[in-house]
Amino acid sequence: MKPTTKVILTILHVISWIIFLGLCIKTGAFLYSFIVSLAFNPEGAKDLYMGLNLSALYHFDIGYYVVIGAGTILISGAKAFLFYLVVKIFLKINLVAPFSKDVSLLISGIGYLAIGIGVLTLIVSKNCDWLATKGVAFPDLQSVLGGAGEFLLLGAVIFIIAQVFKRGIEIQTENELTV
């Protein structure tokens, strides 16, 4: 392996850790303020996370508020878990013999999770669009949710890579069992 590749992988590992921690903090903060807004102080809906104001939705219908809020938290949590899997891959991968069952499972997991995040984001954003037509004033949720299409594309690409990886495991096993 080239020294530059090793450096790039180390940098990516550190970045993955930072993103994972950031997403955990974001999800935790979102969850906390969401619970506070529901259980103790409805004013909390005015600033759920970094100025996200869902108070109009809260006053429109508390049920929709719970659905959109829970969906957004779920998406954020799923993204954190996705980066946790990425960090785990960096910890487990051995570039001398990279095709292992553990890494294959992690890659498949990332693929399924990315597709799940994409679908969930699509559902939540379409729900928001529908609620907006009902006259609910919505802030820009795109910055919080992220793009559904990107995650679906990512999921599809990773899913294909996971299939190729499975074939790689078979070839590596065959190679190891060639005397």
Binding site: T173, E174, L177, T178, V179
Partner: protein, 71 residues
């Protein structure tokens, strides 16, 4: 799935009264790889390996490998 090709390496080794360690040294293969071959776990065998084993055991490939049709 079990292979229809049977490896009779242990039989030939017994006939030549050769231990696994001795064969390993003669054919320049690790004990782990020879063990994989002996126990029938190997998926493939290189011609160079077969050549070395045949030389060491003074036998033909057919003495080591046998085809047994599964029913």
């Amino acid at each position: 799935m079990t292979m229809p090709i049977i490896v009779n390496l242990d039989v030939m080794m017994a006939k030549r009264k050769m231990s696994l360690n001795e064969l390993s040294e003669k054919v320049n293969l690790t004990l782990a790889n020879l063990s994989i071959l002996k126990t029938g776990k190997a998926k493939a065998i290189r011609f160079s390996t077969l050549d070395a084993i045949c030389k060491a055991l003074d036998c033909q490939p057919g003495d080591i490998l046998e085809f047994v049709e599964k029913r």
